[in-house]
């Protein structure tokens, strides 16, 4: 592990002396010159003693540091104004964006007010993004009240980015309303390479697709960030996943991440960063990279990350005008473990009930009769997810055999579903293809039934049924009913299964 990688201290110290810091280097164990002495005691000293000393920090930024860092380590180092961090170190990290939503926002605000005072102001009104998305289209009074709490707070604090909804009867009457926070963050340009994004939702890790550090936190931590703009974070060691090979046209990023979670288990990356590289990853679109990073938390991961490249910059072109500075893992960066996959040999996968690591080939489950299909959520409710499902329906020319529920993640996705032509369809939109296939009409954008929610949530599993879903979790009760059975799958596999009424490998249709 990281602690085994103690760097050659002597050469480092020599470098420092050349740079004229010999005085502070007299004792190798005292900070500024030996940050890479990565014993636990040394790193704790760094945290508690050295942060305020601004002047010495510059020294090692001049190129004297020889220890390679992973991109996760580099992002956290920059955000904590340190030249070097090693896994296991705790660092006070400056937060670039804090996101919260209607489920955890009111509680976070409550803690912020209690701890910092009723008249306290948030640390930066332009760095807080508040996105109602979980329980929106419901008559549940408490759920509606929670959105009101967000609105009052945003008005009081003059929050710049609040994606409000007031008219629940027609989401389109709310131009500000977006929908699922993780997809909205990307679409609205809040995800930027090299930055630190925290959110009160475990799937905040989705934003790692942009080459940034992004992770989920609780209300109390969020309350702290609201007041200070900082959080004490422990630097995770990185697991590296190298995926090479041409991706077959019946696979989607969902298959890749289900493969990985099946490989390392639902706790295989606990406390760890997951870095995705390789030619397959480079070939993925931004939305597909988001799917990959979205489910790292299902392996217990702290964050997932994909190096930024031309695909990233292209996506960001018309979305943000703020400057950003991407970082990349050094050649000499240390990874806790490296996994390699030849994606050209992979087959469509599902995660069987009741765990995301309960991996099986879709074709192995062909005798599993299903009651419904659900396409939606931050994981599988993006524009390309609906395009993929439409492609399968189009190729088959058949009708679905089970109720098929479609919940676009955001208003933008909904618009795409109703306006973008599906390739090879002669100009038909997804919505037309879905209608012809007999699917339910695409619903108002929100988190929907991915996590069950209030009883009147659209497509909530209120009976003990079997569902193939493009969502992220299949623990007991996740979509509503405790005895319900959820098979997690790609949009291809979900659409193919809808057409047969059984779990189905999409190669039967495409």
């Amino acid at each position: 592990m990281a602690s085994s990688a103690v760097a050659p201290t002597s050469s480092f110290l020599v470098d420092k002396k050349i740079l004229g810091f010999s005085a502070s280097c007299a004792q190798p164990s005292s900070f500024p010159c030996s940050p890479q002495l990565s014993t636990k005691r040394a790193s704790k000293k760094v945290v508690s003693v050295m942060t305020p000393q601004q002047s010495e920090r510059k020294s090692s930024a001049t190129g004297a540091v020889k220890t390679g860092m992973t991109m996760t380590e580099k992002i956290l180092a920059r955000a904590s104004e340190k030249s070097q961090l090693v896994p296991g170190e705790n660092a006070w990290v400056n937060v670039d964006i804090l996101m919260t939503h209607d489920v955890c926002g009111p509680g976070s605000i409550g803690i912020f007010k209690k701890e910092f005072g009723q008249n306290a102001k948030v640390w930066d009104r332009e760095k807080l993004v508040i996105i109602p998305d979980h329980y929106i289209f419901t008559t549940d009074e408490r759920a509606n009240r929670n959105v009101d709490i967000l609105r009052d707070f945003c008005n009081e604090q003059n929050i710049k980015y609040f994606y409000d909804i007031k008219d629940l009867g027609n989401f389109k009457a709310n131009p500000d309303y977006k929908g699922v926070c993780h997809v909205a963050l990307a679409q609205e340009g809040h995800c930027r390479p090299g930055e630190v994004l925290l959110g009160t939702d475990s799937h905040t890790c989705t934003a790692g697709a942009f080459g940034q550090f992004a992770t989920g936190i609780g209300n109390t931590d969020a309350g702290f960030v609201l007041g200070t703009g900082k959080l004490l974070l422990k630097v995770p060691p990185t697991l590296r996943f190298v995926m090479d090979g041409e991706m077959p046209d019946y696979l989607l990023a969902k298959d890749l991440i289900l493969q990985i979670i099946g490989e390392i288990s639902v706790a295989g990356a606990t406390y760890k960063a997951m870095e995705f590289v390789g030619s397959t990853v480079e070939s993925l679109t931004m939305e597909e990279r988001m799917t990959l990073c979205n489910m790292v938390v299902e392996a217990g991961g702290k964050n997932g990350v994909v190096p930024a490249d031309s695909t990233t910059y292209k996506y960001l072109e018309d979305k943000t005008s703020l400057p950003f500075e991407p970082v990349f893992s050094d050649g000499g960066a240390r990874f806790l473990k490296e996994y390699r996959f030849d994606i050209s040999k992979l087959e469509p996968l599902v995660a069987k009930p009741h765990s995301p690591d309960n991996r099986a080939l879709a074709r192995e489950c062909k005798d599993v009769k299903i009651d419904r299909v659900y396409i939606g959520s931050c994981t599988g409710g993006k524009t390309e997810d609906f395009m993929a499902a439409a492609k399968v329906f189009l190729a088959s020319g058949k009708k679905v055999k089970v109720p098929t529920f479609l919940v676009p993640a955001t208003q933008k996705v909904w618009m795409d579903v109703y306006s973008l032509p599906v390739p090879g369809s002669g100009g038909k939109t997804c919505s037309q293809i879905f209608e012809e296939a007999g699917c339910d009409t695409p619903a108002s954008p929100s988190c929907g039934a991915c996590l069950g929610g209030p009883r009147d949530t659209y497509a909530r599993m209120n009976e003990a049924q079997v569902c193939v879903s493009t969502t992220n979790r299949n623990f007991p009760g996740r979509m509503g009913h405790k005895e319900g059975q959820i098979y997690l799958a790609s949009p291809y596999t979900a659409a193919a299964s809808a057409l047969t009424g059984f779990v189905t490998d999409p190669r039967e249709f495409i």
Binding site: S48, I217, F224, K234
Partner: protein
């Protein structure tokens, strides 16, 4: 911001249990008995600081300087046993997330729904219908306890129900961190697989200072992994209370 002084002597680690027990700082607040469960004399309610959670006036004087009423931090009560990968949907299903934990009434209500998402294969209810508190003050789990969503409602629901500690083989990261940050429960790690060794209803004692768990029903004793630097944070009632106590941030009324 200036409110945080990073130059504090005690570093604390919210991310994982470290192996640096600090029994000296495990002080007084836990043992006062309340009347949560008169019918179970063994299961005292162990958490006085819970009451101060909603106090409007800060109580920064709950510092180490005041003499400890009972320096041995010991939990005693009935246990409830669950398995591996108990995710936050089983601890507190999403339909109850409209409850806002920082609101005292809704905090109590969250407790009444703790572990209500467990499948029906669990015979015993964790909290009896109509009650807000559980008779089980210790939860024994397997691997990866608290996986799933980042909802802080999960450790809060357990704490609000009257749980003092969870003892599991391992924890999901965010659940562990939320437990420490809120100070709601002690997320303790066992050396072995206690969920195979204990049965719901067994009478347990946890002696935090010596990291030991005793099952009085079976007569067996087990070692726990030390809670380390997270202990004093939970003891204080969460990161804010701890940070005030340690002088990292000013007291609320200052």
């Amino acid at each position: 911001m200036a409110a945080i002084s990073t130059a504090t002597p005690p570093t604390f680690n919210l991310s994982s249990p470290s192996r640096n027990p600090n029994p000296a700082s495990l002080s007084s607040l836990k043992l006062a008995s309340s009347n949560a469960n008169p019918s179970f004399p063994h299961s005292k309610s162990l958490k006085l600081h819970r009451n101060s959670r909603f106090a409007t006036a800060a109580a920064p004087s709950q510092s180490a300087s005041s003499p400890a009423a009972n320096p041995t931090n010991t939990f005693h009560g009935l246990c409830y046993v669950v398995g591996d990968n108990i995710d936050t949907d089983q601890i507190i299903p999403a339909e109850y997330l409209t409850l806002v934990p920082s609101n005292p009434d809704e905090y109590e209500k969250l407790g009444s729904y703790a572990l209500i998402g467990l499948p029906s294969s669990y015979g015993e209810r964790f909290v009896e219908l109509g009650d807000t508190k559980t008779k089980y003050t210790i939860v024994i789990g397997g691997d990866n306890f608290g996986c799933g969503s980042s909802r802080e409602h999960a450790p809060v629901a357990l704490g609000a129900a009257g749980v003092a500690a969870v003892v599991a083989e391992s924890y999901a990261r965010i659940f562990f961190r939320n437990s420490v940050a809120t100070g709601e429960i002690y997320p303790l790690e066992s050396e072995g697989r206690l969920c195979d060794e204990c049965t719901t209803g067994d009478v347990l004692t946890i002696e935090l200072g010596v990291s030991k768990l005793i099952n009085h029903t079976t007569g067996r004793e087990y070692k726990l992994k030390p809670i380390g630097d997270a202990g004093p944070v939970i003891e204080a009632g969460g990161i804010f209370a701890y940070a005030r106590k340690a002088g990292m941030i000013p007291s609320r009324d200052a």
